[in-house]
């Protein structure tokens, strides 16, 4: 980071003095002005969606609106005829999906998990900071509730929040029994504060909490009876023609074929939408986070809530360019790292709510107090060396092995050098409306995890999402066991209705949805041409699929 030499020296020079400085305070009315002026949710780039269950009522970013209005990628002539029958189809092999699959394990129901990439290639795996649960001595589920509701601007659905916080302890116990290691002291679980927690409440496995949880859930599912369909993305849900969801059409990305599944219950656990890279923001999310679940549920007539609100995590990396957008966990701030503008000054309480911190960073940059990288990105400093100064030498290396490893590749040592950060598109606060049993408004369709909305209001607290996926994933599994119905006919009648409705509206974009992959990736939903249609043309199957090349990899150690 030679290009920033002067600033780095200044930050170093003031570090001692800043160590004991109290954070800049801000009252609530100032905070509202800050949000309205600088948070991306308030940019006024929203419009009403014109097609679908809440047409003319649902207001959201125009990028999301286009997605919801888009036509299905399914050919108009496509007739669903199930080639696969199962009792429960879980769509999405992240944390919520697998928590449900494990809960269904001994129910006697046949469970099929279909997921876009490989099982576990999901946002869950990427979570770093931790999971909230009121297990501390001066804590209670009510206090957790109060923090969550204040964080969500009071818009959270109270009953969902109550369930979340009351089921937190059983969720932690369940994970521990499965073999998840949460950090411990002699007295109990080690607890960290998080932005907006009034008392330390975040359990973690160093800075790889999501990796640990996902690894364990995946391994447990591998040992169970569930059928796993990797590389199978849902492109449409099927229904019985009378409003009940009865299956799905999946796209097998390897064979480039469509597969229709008949199921007695379907669980949507497709996660979020960071890869839509709304408003040009970089993202912390995995490849598959393209908001597919919203589209699938929408076309079945489900309401979406709080979709006007996304979480821009305050500290996405800005430098080096190669990892722009990737997360620097909030724990860095909870352990003492400060945010500094180009003048080396603090400008916000680092442990305030995420939306406030993000808005404050955007303010600094847009008012000219940001730092510009050689690649032209802008950001502010996150003074990570303070962590060791405050908590003792070696703390950063011990608590943040993931962060150390990631930056070391580029010659940056966060324990001696500050990092450059800017908000990154991180979490879909809103989503498909559910009740306390994780049921959507459509019979036969459940939803759990980041794809749902209501629980977090319009701002989610750190650590509440990992808790969400375990609590509601398990809840969905239990609810399916007690409410599952007999098999029904598998039709595309909801899609036909949607397509008819589209014809009544003019000026809709040509986009297809769900889009499955980030548009910047150039990966596409492309059906293999049926061999009979065009003999001799196998250009589709020739496109190299992952690992399908004919080149032998060299011995990676020959040079040693």
């Amino acid at each position: 980071m030679d290009w920033a030499g002067d600033q780095l020296r200044q930050i170093e020079a003031t570090r001692r003095q800043r160590l004991d400085e109290s954070a800049p305070k801000m009252d609530d009315s100032k905070a509202s002005t800050l949000l309205e002026n600088f948070h991306p949710d308030f940019k006024g780039l929203e419009r009403l969606v014109q097609v679908g269950p809440q047409a003319g009522k649902l207001k959201c970013l125009s990028e999301i609106a286009e997605l919801l209005e888009a036509d299905s990628p399914l050919p108009a002539v496509f007739e669903p005829s199930p080639t696969l029958e199962t009792d429960v189809l879980v769509v999405g092999g992240g944390g919520a999906g697998l928590a449900a699959a494990l809960t269904l394990q001994n129910s006697g129901l046949q469970v099929t998990v279909a997921t876009k990439l490989r099982i576990g290639d999901a946002n869950t795996l990427m979570a770093e900071g931790g999971i909230q649960a009121a297990v501390g001595s001066n804590d209670s589920p009510r206090r957790h509730y109060a923090d969550t509701v204040v964080g969500g601007h009071g818009k959270n659905v109270p009953e969902l929040v109550r369930l979340l916080v009351e089921e937190a302890r059983p969720a932690i116990d369940w994970l521990t029994q499965l073999g998840v290691h949460f950090g411990r002291t002699e007295k109990g679980y080690e607890l960290k504060p998080g932005g907006g927690t009034s008392t330390p409440r975040v359990l973690s496995c160093q800075d790889v909490t999501g990796l640990e949880i996902m690894r364990v859930l995946r391994d447990a599912v591998f040992h169970g009876p569930a059928q796993l369909l990797e590389g199978h993305s849902a492109v449409e849900l099927c229904d019985d023609g009378e409003g009940r969801v009865t299956g799905a059409v999946l796209w097998n990305s390897e064979a480039k074929e469509l597969v229709t599944v008949s199921a007695r219950a379907v669980l949507l656990a497709t996660g979020g939408s960071g890869q839509l890279r709304l408003q040009g923001f970089a993202t912390s999310n995995h490849l598959g986070a393209t908001g597919d679940g919203l589209v699938l549920a929408w076309r079945q007539g489900c309401s979406l809530v709080h979709l006007d609100s996304f979480q821009y995590h305050p500290t996405g990396s800005v430098f080096p360019e190669a990892i722009a957008g990737q997360l620097v966990t909030e724990s860095a701030r909870s352990m003492g790292a400060q945010l500094l503008n180009a003048e080396g000054k603090r400008f916000i309480d680092e442990l305030s709510y995420r939306d406030r911190v993000a808005a404050a960073i955007i303010r600094e940059v847009s008012e000219g107090r940001g730092v510009t990288t050689p690649a032209g990105r802008q950001g502010v400093w996150l003074d990570t060396p303070l962590i060791d100064k405050r908590q003792g030498e070696g703390t950063l290396a011990r608590q943040f092995p993931g962060m150390i490893h990631r930056f070391k590749k580029y010659g940056i040592d966060p324990s001696t050098q500050p990092l450059l950060v800017y908000p990154t598109l991180h979490y879909q606060n809103g989503g498909v409306a559910i009740d306390q049993e994780a049921r959507t408004e459509r019979e036969g369709l459940w939803a759990a995890g980041e794809v749902t909305g209501g629980l977090h209001g319009t701002n989610r607290l750190m650590g509440n999402s990992l808790l969400d996926i375990i609590v509601f994933g398990r809840r969905a599994g239990e609810s399916i066991i007690s409410n599952i119905k007999d098999r029904g006919p598998v039709t595309l009648s909801a899609l036909s209705r949607f397509r008819k409705e589209r014809e009544t509206v003019s000026g809709l974009s040509q986009q297809k949805a769900p889009q499955l992959y980030p548009t910047v990736s150039g990966m596409k939903f492309e059906l293999k041409q049926a061999p009979l249609e065009k003999p001799g043309d196998d250009s589709f199957s020739q496109q190299g699929s992952a690992g399908g090349s004919s080149f032998e990899p060299p011995d990676p150690f020959s040079a040693r």
Partner: protein, 230 residues
């Protein structure tokens, strides 16, 4: 940023196919830009899922090796070869793991010839071979620690000529130990007080509830909140 004139372009090959990339880009982003995304399997884009394993060779004879394509930057002349590793099933974890139980689950443990290929292959800098030796001695706590950041990319297994499965054993040790730890969540407190607090927090209009939540979070309980107001 795409048009930044200062960004240099470099030539690389992926699976033998030549392509142009921008200096500083990761292999994955370079593939995206070239419309060749499906050459290398991709999952998290953040170095934690292990989908994007490749091996890399440099024309100038520098030591190449296995890398994660989503984290590794392109360089002039670099040759990239997709190196996907299929996962294999693990053995079920057991309570109170030790060396004997590990050997029973993974009899290949003692086949290790200390060639160190696994350690070189690991993109997470895990001291894989050392940890295998610790497994042989039954130092399970330390082994669990060693594998904390293991992304299960499988490279250590793929390069092991002696069919040792370090990461699988690491997972087995971690899960087995984890399951042997006691639950430490506290029991719920007396019913009555909790219900009173729930009533206080959940009733009323949105504004009322929000204001109550604001006050409540500064206190441990409704009792102390009421005391503080007196």
């Amino acid at each position: 940023m795409k048009n930044n004139p200062e960004t240099k372009t470099v030539q690389i090959t992926v699976a033998g196919k030549p392509m142009e990339a921008r200096e500083g880009q990761t292999i994955v982003h370079a593939l995206w830009q070239a419309g060749m995304a499906s050459e290398v399997m991709t999952g998290c884009l953040g170095g934690v899922c292990g989908a994007c394993t490749v091996s890399v060779r440099y024309p100038d004879g520098r030591k190449g090796g296995t890398e994660l394509a989503c984290l590794h930057q392109v360089e002039e002349g670099m040759q990239v070869f997709p190196f996907p590793v299929d996962p294999i099933p693990t053995k079920p974890p057991v309570k109170e793991p030790d060396a004997a139980k590990l050997r029973e689950a993974y009899p290949t443990l003692d086949r290790c010839t200390k060639c160190e290929s696994c350690t070189y292959a690991c993109p997470m800098d895990i001291p894989v071979m050392d940890s295998v030796l610790r497994m042989q001695k039954g130092e399970v706590e330390q082994v669990a620690q060693d594998f904390t950041t293991c992304i299960h990319c499988g490279l250590c297994r793929a390069v092991c000529e002696d069919k040792v499965e370090p990461h699988q054993m690491g997972m087995w040790v971690r899960r087995s130990l984890g399951q042997s730890l006691p639950n430490m969540t506290p029991q719920e407190e007396p019913e009555g007080e909790a219900e009173r607090e729930w009533g206080y927090l959940m009733e009323g209009t949105l504004e009322q509830r929000l204001e109550r939540a604001r006050q409540f979070r500064t206190q441990e309980s409704l009792n102390s909140l009421e005391d503080s107001k007196e």
